[in-house]
Every structure is written in structure tokens, then in C-alpha cells.
């Protein structure tokens, strides 16, 4: 791989990173807070590509002679560098470019949620729970709902209408559950938070459909067969399909 080809690959790679971080695509893969450094990294990659091309395409200059004497990058006056010292493994960088620019895989969904145990563990819980946000129904995250339901016996939840957002995933018994993936850094460490549905639960909705439900607390709790962690339930009053949210993760 000569330097010009490397420059093109770097340009594409940096461009792909920049494009993903300037649109909302990056939110499928990493946390929102990474955006500034992603933009900076993409810009550095593009700068490195442009500088490589600039130095490579510039007409003869004294330093080129020295360069050639050492051979590793010489013989390039015809634009085709002597390639055998250049890292061939660099070709692999086309794969993420392909992944980001052409495929742009979707955010983790129901398949990942089925594979992994629910993230709800004692470590995630604070010791006391502040009152729910105002509003009727009160919007609350799945993780917050599950923590309050399991570790606080639903004390702060009773008597309120609650609004939960997540995607549908089939539970161990085939009944639909509400789930969302919780990220701590990137999708590789994404773990699902699962909440069972009773009452007027969505029926016949395909997996990975995003829904917003309004419901109330119920004391029913089951175990996730994957890691034996608690899976609380919510009693659904109404529900509606929604387009997938901008930020798919919690």
C-alpha cells in the first residue's frame, strides 16, 4: 500500500468518523459525551491524509533526494511508492469505513437484549430515591423504574401514572417485554434493562418496535433466566408505537 492509497484510506476513515459524529449516527455506537473527541479525531485523520498527499504530490525538492537514499519511502517520483515496508494491515481500515458509510448498522436491539441478562444489580441503585418528576404521566427511564420497583419496593412509584419508553423484546415465555440497552461506554459493553409487561400489553407487535407505554406500578417481579437478576413488571394502561428515538440507549 503506497502513501497515496494510505492517504485515501485515512481520508475515508476520518470522513466516516466525522460524518457519523456530525449526524446522530454515532449515538448508535457510543455515548453522547464522546462527540467532541470524535470530531477532533476525524479532523486529525483528515489532516494527516491531506498532509500526506500534499507532501507526496509536491514536485521535487531537496529533501526528497535524502528520502530516496534510505529507500523506505523512496522511488516515489512516479507516484508509486516502494510499498514493501508499508503496513499492509492498513487495508483493513476499509472495513470500518464500509461499516460506517455504507452499512451504518442499527443500534443494539432485541437480539442483544435476549442474549444478555438484565443490568439491574444492587450496584446500580442509590440508597434513597428522590420523588418522581412532575407530570401525569411521569416520564421515567426503564432503569430508574426497575431500581425503584426492586430495591425500593415501588414506594416512590405507587399512585402515579408512569410513562416508559423502550423497544419490544420477547421474554423467556414468549410474552413481550419492554427493554432498552444501557451503555457505559460503547455498544460492546451495552447491557439490557428489562421490564415485564402485564395488563394491556402490546400483543403481536414485532420485536424491536419502539413503544411508549403509560402504566402503573405492580409488585410482580420475576427472575431473568440469563443471570437470575430481578425483572420487575409494569401494569400497562395504554401504549403507542413511536419512531425510534434519537438517543436509543439509556
Amino acid at each position: 500500500m503506497n502513501r497515496q492509497a494510505q492517504a485515501v484510506v485515512m481520508l475515508l476513515f476520518g470522513g466516516a468518523i466525522l460524518r457519523a459524529s456530525l449526524t446522530d449516527v454515532y449515538l448508535r455506537y457510543v455515548k453522547e459525551g464522546l462527540r467532541p473527541v470524535l470530531i477532533a479525531a476525524g479532523a486529525v485523520l483528515i489532516a494527516a491524509a491531506i498532509m500526506t498527499l500534499w507532501y507526496d504530490l509536491r514536485p521535487h525538492q531537496p529533501l526528497d533526494g535524502d528520502d530516496e537514499g534510505h529507500g523506505d519511502e523512496g522511488h516515489d517520483h512516479d507516484g508509486h511508492g516502494h510499498a514493501h515496508h508499508e503496513p499492509r494491515v492498513g487495508w483493513l481500515l476499509i472495513l470500518p469505513v464500509l461499516g460506517l458509510l455504507l452499512v451504518a448498522p442499527p443500534a443494539l436491539g432485541s437480539y442483544a437484549a435476549e442474549q444478555a441478562g438484565t443490568v439491574l444489580t444492587t450496584q446500580n441503585s442509590a440508597s434513597d430515591y428522590p420523588p418522581l418528576p412532575p407530570g401525569d404521566p411521569a416520564p421515567i427511564s426503564l432503569l430508574d423504574y426497575a431500581s425503584r420497583a426492586v430495591f425500593d419496593s415501588g414506594k416512590s412509584l405507587t399512585g402515579r401514572n408512569l410513562q416508559l419508553t423502550g423497544f419490544v423484546t420477547p421474554g423467556p415465555d414468549g410474552k413481550p417485554m419492554l427493554a432498552r440497552i444501557v451503555l457505559s461506554c460503547c455498544a460492546a459493553d451495552g447491557r439490557p434493562i428489562k421490564v415485564g409487561l402485564t395488563g394491556n400489553a402490546p400483543a403481536g407487535t414485532p420485536a424491536d418496535t419502539w413503544v411508549r407505554i403509560v402504566g402503573v406500578y405492580t409488585s410482580r417481579v420475576e427472575k431473568d433466566p440469563v443471570n437470575r437478576a430481578a425483572v420487575p413488571f409494569v401494569e400497562v394502561r395504554t401504549w403507542q408505537e413511536i419512531p425510534s428515538p434519537r438517543q436509543p440507549y439509556e
Binding site: 500500500m1 503506497n2 497515496q4 492509497a5 492517504a7 485515501v8 484510506v9 485515512m10 468518523i17 454515532y26 448508535r28 455506537y29 464522546l34 470524535l38 477532533a40 476525524g42 494527516a48 491524509a49 500526506t52 529533501l63 535524502d66 528520502d67 537514499g69 534510505h70 523506505d72 522511488h75 512516479d78 508509486h80 516502494h82 510499498a83 503496513p87 494491515v89 483493513l92 481500515l93 476499509i94 472495513l95 470500518p96 464500509l98 461499516g99 455504507l102 452499512v103 448498522p105 442499527p106 443500534a107 443494539l108 437480539y111 442483544a112 442474549q115 444489580t121 444492587t122 457505559s184 460503547c186 455498544a187 460492546a188 459493553d189 447491557r191 433466566p225 440469563v226 443471570n227 437470575r228
Partner: protein, 357 residues
């Protein structure tokens, strides 16, 4: 593109040789497969042409390709693969830029003055210096390579390589957040990681052989203007470390999708088995050291000691790192260094866990 690469087959090595700056074998040595002359005529197919053809094919066959990965499992694989890379890219670029600065703008004499003269003392000094590198392991590999090129004793550079991703403030803060009820986990992680890093550095001083390390040939920076050398170093390291990062990310995504979590449940109850299980998992999952504490916290069915081992092993040995170390230091180095680090990390992690947790 010839396999007869002088830089990888020369047997005798001196530290100067590693640097590649005095390498006569790196001279013109024409590639037998593509004689000089053939390339100067028309109809040449260079890597730019190959690349252009490849890209055209990819765009033309975009839809069939997308359909190919529409299965849920393959789609999850692609998502995890891309996200490991997106997550790692800022740290890779940061590490590459820093290592280029070390290579171009920091004079060799600086390292001689900054580190203790005696190698045995330079090792712990370099390990503790890892505190200042705020990042994860992807960045520290090119930096360690750059340090060795600039004449830092390999033992010290390796101690830095192992310590930096595990004991820097960002990672320790993340650990504290992930284990709010076990602040001793932070102390245990920082202490155990530093001990492993220094032990491995000393072990290298006693047993390591310089000829195991084969740094990739890098353009001769000394002959170039500073700015030009800086960008040449950046380009080389991005292509090189980045390529191996892609390999590692693919391996990690495969493990992530293929290994069912139910397997873990069955070994969690056995104290000894759980340590080995989580140590192996840390290698296979290749999670960024800034995130692994959260994953460890979610593995709540496991003992704290086994989770500490997970946190100590992860930033030092994992698929992504083994791939990048093989690329940066050579295969002969990686096959010795990675298993030795793995064993040391398990022993030290378990011991510290037994005392502190």
C-alpha cells in the same frame, strides 16, 4: 508487497537497529515481484488503483452487502464491531499524535534525564508515570513503541504500556462510579495494576531478549523536516496500529455475539473457576479500560476478587491489545509477553483481592 522484507528477517539486532534509523537493509532492495522497470510503464496497477476499484465495487454492491448482514446475529456483530472502533478511534488518534510528538519533538536526551539511570529504577518510575496518560489501552501501544525507538529501555516502556491504561485518573474515577459501595475496589485496582506492570518490567530485565522485539520499519524521520516527519509518523502509526485495531475489534465482536452469558452463570459459584473465567472473559471481550469497570459491576453474580482480576487483566491483555502488540513489537514478543502478563495479572489480582476485598 514482497514477503522478503529485509527489516523482518535480519537476525542480529542492536537498539539502534530497532529504531530502523541505521538500517542499511532498508535500502532500495527492489521487489522481485514487481521489477522497478515494469512500474514505470503504462498500465501500472498500484495500490491507489486497487483501492479505487475496491471502493467502486463496494458502492455498486452496496445493497446486496447490506442485505447480507440483515440477520439479527450478524447485525449485532456489525454494530459491536463498528462501536468498538468508533470508541477506540479518539484514543488511537490521541496516542498516535502523542507518539509522533515523542518521536519528532522530544529529544532523545530528554528520556535519559527524565528516567533514573539504572533500568531497575526506571521501571517503577515509568509505571507511575502512566498516571498522566488519560486514555485507554489503544493509545498506549504506539506510545510505548515510540519510547523504545527513542532509546527508553524496553523494560521501562513496557511497564508504562501496562500501567498507563489501568491507573490513570479517568479509569480510576470510572471504577469508583461503577462500584459506589466498594471504594476499596479503586485502591485494589490501581495497586494491583501497578504491581503487575512493575513486575513485568523487572521480569523483562531478567529474562527478556531485545531480539524478540521487532518494531515495524518506520520512515526515517531524522532526515525529514520536523513537520513532515510528524505527519509521516502519524500516517504510519494510524495505518499500522489502526489495522491491528480492526483485527482486534472483529475478534472482540465475535466473542461478544458468540459466547452466551448463561455459561458465565454456571461458573460464578466456584471461587477458583470464577477467577479464571473472568480473566479469560476480560481477554476475549477486549473492552476499553474506561468502560470495563461498569461491565465488571454488572457481573454481580461473581465475587469481588474475580471482578478485580477482570479489571486488572483487561487493560493489559486482550484480543485487541495482543493484535496491536503483535503489530508493534512483533510476533515473537507477543507470544511471550501476553501469556506472562496474563499469568502475573491473575496471581497479583487474586492476592490483592484476598487482602483488600
Amino acid at each position: 508487497m514482497s514477503p522478503a522484507d529485509g527489516a523482518t528477517t535480519r537476525p542480529a539486532v542492536t537498539p539502534d537497529d530497532i529504531d530502523g534509523t541505521t538500517a542499511p537493509a532498508a535500502g532500495p532492495a527492489p521487489d522481485p515481484g514487481t521489477p522497478e522497470r515494469a512500474r514505470s510503464f503504462g498500465g501500472r496497477i498500484g495500490s491507489v488503483e486497487v483501492l479505487a476499484g475496491l471502493l467502486v465495487l463496494l458502492v455498486v454492491f452496496r445493497n446486496p452487502l447490506a442485505a447480507l448482514i440483515s440477520g439479527a446475529r450478524l447485525q449485532t456483530w456489525t454494530t459491536v464491531f463498528v462501536s468498538v472502533l468508533v470508541q477506540a478511534v479518539p484514543f488511537l488518534v490521541f496516542g498516535v499524535v502523542l507518539s509522533a510528538i515523542i518521536a519528532v519533538y522530544v529529544p532523545r536526551s530528554f528520556w535519559a534525564r527524565a528516567l533514573p539511570k539504572h533500568p531497575a529504577l526506571a521501571v517503577p518510575a515509568a509505571g507511575v508515570a502512566g498516571v498522566i496518560l488519560p486514555g485507554c489501552e489503544c493509545g498506549s501501544v504506539p506510545i510505548a513503541g515510540s519510547l523504545i525507538r527513542r532509546g527508553v529501555t524496553p523494560a521501562a516502556a513496557l511497564a508504562f504500556l501496562l500501567a498507563a491504561p489501568a491507573i490513570n485518573p479517568i479509569v480510576l474515577t470510572a471504577t469508583a462510579i461503577a462500584f459506589p459501595k466498594n471504594p476499596e475496589m479503586v485502591v485494589a485496582r490501581g495497586g494491583a495494576s501497578l504491581v503487575v506492570a512493575v513486575t513485568m518490567g523487572w521480569l523483562w530485565l531478567r529474562l527478556g531478549k531485545i531480539e524478540w522485539i521487532r518494531l515495524p520499519h518506520r520512515p526515517d524521520l531524522d532526515e525529514l523536516s520536523r513537520a513532515r516527519a510528524f505527519w509521516a509518523a502519524c500516517r504510519h502509526d494510524v495505518m499500522h496500529a489502526g489495522g491491528f485495531l480492526v483485527l482486534g475489534a472483529a475478534a472482540a465482536a465475535t466473542i461478544n455475539v458468540v459466547v452466551p452469558q448463561q455459561w458465565l452463570q454456571s461458573v460464578a459459584d466456584n471461587a477458583v473457576l470464577s477467577v479464571f473465567a473472568l480473566a479469560t472473559l476480560a481477554v476475549l471481550l477486549s473492552i476499553c479500560s474506561e468502560a470495563d469497570a461498569f461491565v465488571a459491576a454488572s457481573l454481580s453474580q461473581f465475587s469481588l476478587t474475580s471482578r478485580l482480576v477482570f479489571l486488572v487483566v483487561g487493560p493489559m491483555v486482550d484480543l485487541k491489545l495482543i493484535s496491536m502488540q503483535t503489530g508493534m513489537f512483533g510476533r515473537r514478543f507477543a507470544v511471550r509477553f501476553a501469556p506472562a502478563t496474563f499469568a502475573t495479572a491473575i496471581v497479583v489480582g487474586t492476592a490483592v483481592g484476598a487482602v483488600l476485598l
